[in-house]
């Protein structure tokens, strides 16, 4: 099993007192499998994704990536995890504005010391970014920027790809095209894919679907 999530709890302090975002979530995901995580705003789906991505730590429970329990990792260990093993595609793209498209695509692979120019070129080609490699992110449209972000995430060939509303900022047609590409490429790398979305249509294209409600699997 690529990913095993067991009994995850997470509580945030808010102005109105503690708020339990996740209350005992379990899920599993196998390599090559795709999973849609749906739920209403505040259901905890983004938080769960952050925890799996090593961006945050749970209060209780375990998350195993293969044999590794990532909840036991320290800050540096989680950083290493984010560099190479788990890739995250953000809704806000989070590109580095001062780097050209080519450098943005290569950036994470370079951080992980897994830079492969051939694979990079393939990704750029497949994402239709080849004509834009020398541009800066601000010169691209939203769909193009998201494709750069996806290419950047896939460049180090992570075992698990996480995406948080990856098409949330895109119009419908663009969103469909970007999603197609992402699914295609993920399946080629054999990675697992977990997408947080509230789009039923998008969720429908995943092999499985998990609905969160009030911090628990519905």
């Amino acid at each position: 099993m690529l990913l095993t999530v067991q009994n995850i709890h997470k509580t945030y302090q808010t102005a109105d007192g503690p708020f339990a975002v996740l209350r005992g979530v379990d899920l599993t995901l196998d390599a090559g499998e795709t999973l849609a995580l749906t739920g209403e705003s505040g259901s905890g789906k983004s938080t769960l994704l952050h925890l799996i991505g090593g961006l945050d730590t749970p209060d209780q429970g375990h998350i195993h990536l293969g044999e590794l329990d990532i909840t036991t990792l320290d800050d540096n260990g989680r950083a290493a995890l984010r560099r190479g093993t788990v890739g995250v595609v953000f809704q806000q793209f989070n590109l580095i504005p001062s780097l050209r498209v080519s450098d943005n695509i290569a950036f994470q692979a370079r951080l992980a010391d897994r830079y492969d120019p051939l694979w990079d070129a393939t990704l750029a080609e497949r994402m239709g970014l080849t004509p834009h490699l020398n541009k800066y992110p601000e010169q691209l449209s939203g769909g193009q920027q998201q494709r750069v972000a996806i290419a950047r995430t896939l460049a180090p060939k992570p075992r698990l790809v996480l995406a948080d509303e990856p098409t949330g900022n895109l119009d419908e047609a663009t969103a469909a095209a970007v999603l197609d590409l992402m699914l295609e490429l993920v399946s080629e790398t054999g990675a697992g894919l977990l997408i947080v979305t509230h789009s039923t249509e998008l969720a429908g294209r995943m092999s499985r679907r998990l609905h969160l409600r009030a911090g628990q699997v519905a």
């Binding site: 984010r82 989070n94 504005p97 780097l99 994470q108 951080l111």
Partner: protein
Amino acid sequence: MTRATLQALLSHWWRNPLQLFTLLAGLALATALWSGVQAVNAEARASYDAAAATLGEGQYDRLVRRDGQPMPQETYVALRRAGWLVSPVVQGRLDGVRVVGVEPLTAPGGIGPVDPVQGGDITEFLSGEGQLFANAETALALPDLNVILTPEAAPGTAVTDIGVAQRLLGKLGQIDSLIVLPGQPKGRADLAAVAPDLTLQPAQGGSDIGRLTDSFHLNLTAFGLLSFAVGIFIVNGAIGLAFEQRRPVVRTLRALGLPLRNVVILMGAELMIFALIAGVIGVALGYGIAALLLPDVAATLRGLYGADVSGTLQLRPSWWLSGLAIALGGTAIAASGALYQISKMPLLAAAQPRALAMAAGRQAVVQGVFAAILLCVAGVMMFTANGLIGGFTLLASLLIGAALALPLILDRILAASSKIATSVTAQWFWADTRQQLPGLSLALMALLLAMSANVGVSTMVSSFRLTFTDFLDQRLASELYIRTENEAQSAALVAFATPRTDIILPIQSADTEVAGQPTEVYGARDHATYRDNWVFLQQAAGPWDSTFGGQTVLINEQLSRRAGLNVGDAIVLQGTSFQIAGVYGDYGNPIGQAVIGEGVFATLYPAIIPQNFGLRMDPVAVPDFLTDLEATTGIRATQAVNQASIKAISLSIFERTFTVTTALNILTLAVAGFAILMSLLTLATMRIPQLAPAWAMGMTRSQIGRLELVRAVMLALLTAVVALPLGLALAWALLAVVNVAAFGWQLPMYLFPMDYARLGLFALLAAAIAALWPARRLARTPPADLLKVFSNER
């Protein structure tokens, strides 16, 4: 990993060259201001140190004759044979060069700038053939002598063996003073038994020359400290903004798997490299500033105090190291705070609103408490401070307290203004200004410090000038002053001038000691010149009558303060006791002064023959008088100085002081203006989301731009309003606390409203110039960019 990260970090600057420029320029200017002032200070100090070292001035006790005349060489031998470990010094001027003769076998270590083993032939040095040690500039003035060049020699000074000096100066067998060595032997005879006409002058903390010129240095040092404060604020602002701008990128980097430690180390290293580059540029700029100012400074000091300052600037490690240390240290302090914030920044807080405004709210409380504490300290010190350290503590707490309080004061003013605003635009303007305040506050603090420094220092210098001009009128009442070369000339002058002038006032003095203070005693001739012109700080009834009558003495403020002597107390001169009848202001004089009547002076100091004379006469008759004088007595016109020219010289010296002060003033303001520009530019990009709603609701872009300009000028104006009282408090502290502690006299403080108005205008101009470009940029923001604000919103 490191390479990719560095690329990502550095590419930010490549893509935002303006930010890079403001960061580097901010650091460089702060460094330049600091190191420029330091360079001038260090250079002048080094010159005095060399001068002081030549004679060991101040380091050692000295024996001199009570009447100030040279002593015979036999006195030296008699003292040595009585067990006194003393070393003889003779000095005088030769072709404008101060020639100092020392005796190397008995002189204490550390006397003289020269190592005779380097380039010196011992046999020759001692043989009387005449080796002199001097720097290259001085050597040019002594073309016919055997001068060994040494850069360590004091400016304008040549050191040689005592035998050679006696011969060159025509003082064979004479000694001016004896240095008393530390570690005197047991069983030494009493001074009174061996040489009753000598008096011991105790070692001073600093040399006479040092004390004198310190008054000017204090001025510069105060400037140095203020410029340092301004610089630190700017550095802090530059760094803080640089970090603020890159928070999102740091988040992205960390999300992509860069460990926090690497982020901190790499950003720290990057900043240190920038600090180094900026520091080097800043020191070079500072060198340029100093090189431009130094001739003036040198001229000022030479003119004011007769201290020789080399007119050339040397690259001294002390100040370029201190310049780099300021750049690196300032950056490190500012960056450590910023890096700490980065390290505490949650990885997932990207959606939080602007951190600046949020953090400012929390900081305001802390800042307010600090400001209150410092201002309280300053308030207490105003009444209790005495001594230099107290004075500077007062200055520091006053300035920093006021700077910290400034944003809070402005915030209150803006809040009050928005309450009374009637139109919607005005309400929006005040509210928006208030919102901007946190981002601008560092720059405004820098402006506050720059302005109050200007007000304070220029008040001090101007007060000094005004006091001194009055004082010159008092002291230079005679129309003509003549210096004779010998007794024969003195007699000839008196004979010639007596029928042709209203009165001749001989100016005669003897160096002595009163209540342990080195003091010059003057013998004054009874005349209305004194009665009419001298202003007393304290006086008994009819001070001149009793003084001219030989019963009383008048002393200067310095002697009065140092020795704690007041009217009614008595002092002893040559065994005769005199009651003090008056204390007069004697500005700029480092040592004590006492005036007694001419008759009693002649009795007490019979060896002193006056060679300086003031002549009262019709000013119109002066040119003819001088022509006749030269024809009749051979006294050349060059030996005469008329009052007007002395005053002109004195005033021109002050003009030079002003040149330096004004140059530094303008520079400080420019730096503060630059800080405003930098802050506004940085804010401008962040402000588009804030301005977009105003635009969407019907304000034109040019209206917005104009308001931006008005805002900057208005904030500068408010800052100026705060700066004025602060600057006056600063001036008061400088004149009434620091000056008294340093030099022993208090300067009356005068106010110069026109100067302050002009300064305020300059500050507003600086702010307007700084705001002009950012405002124009805002006014020309493409509508598409303003629209993006809405389209990007989730």
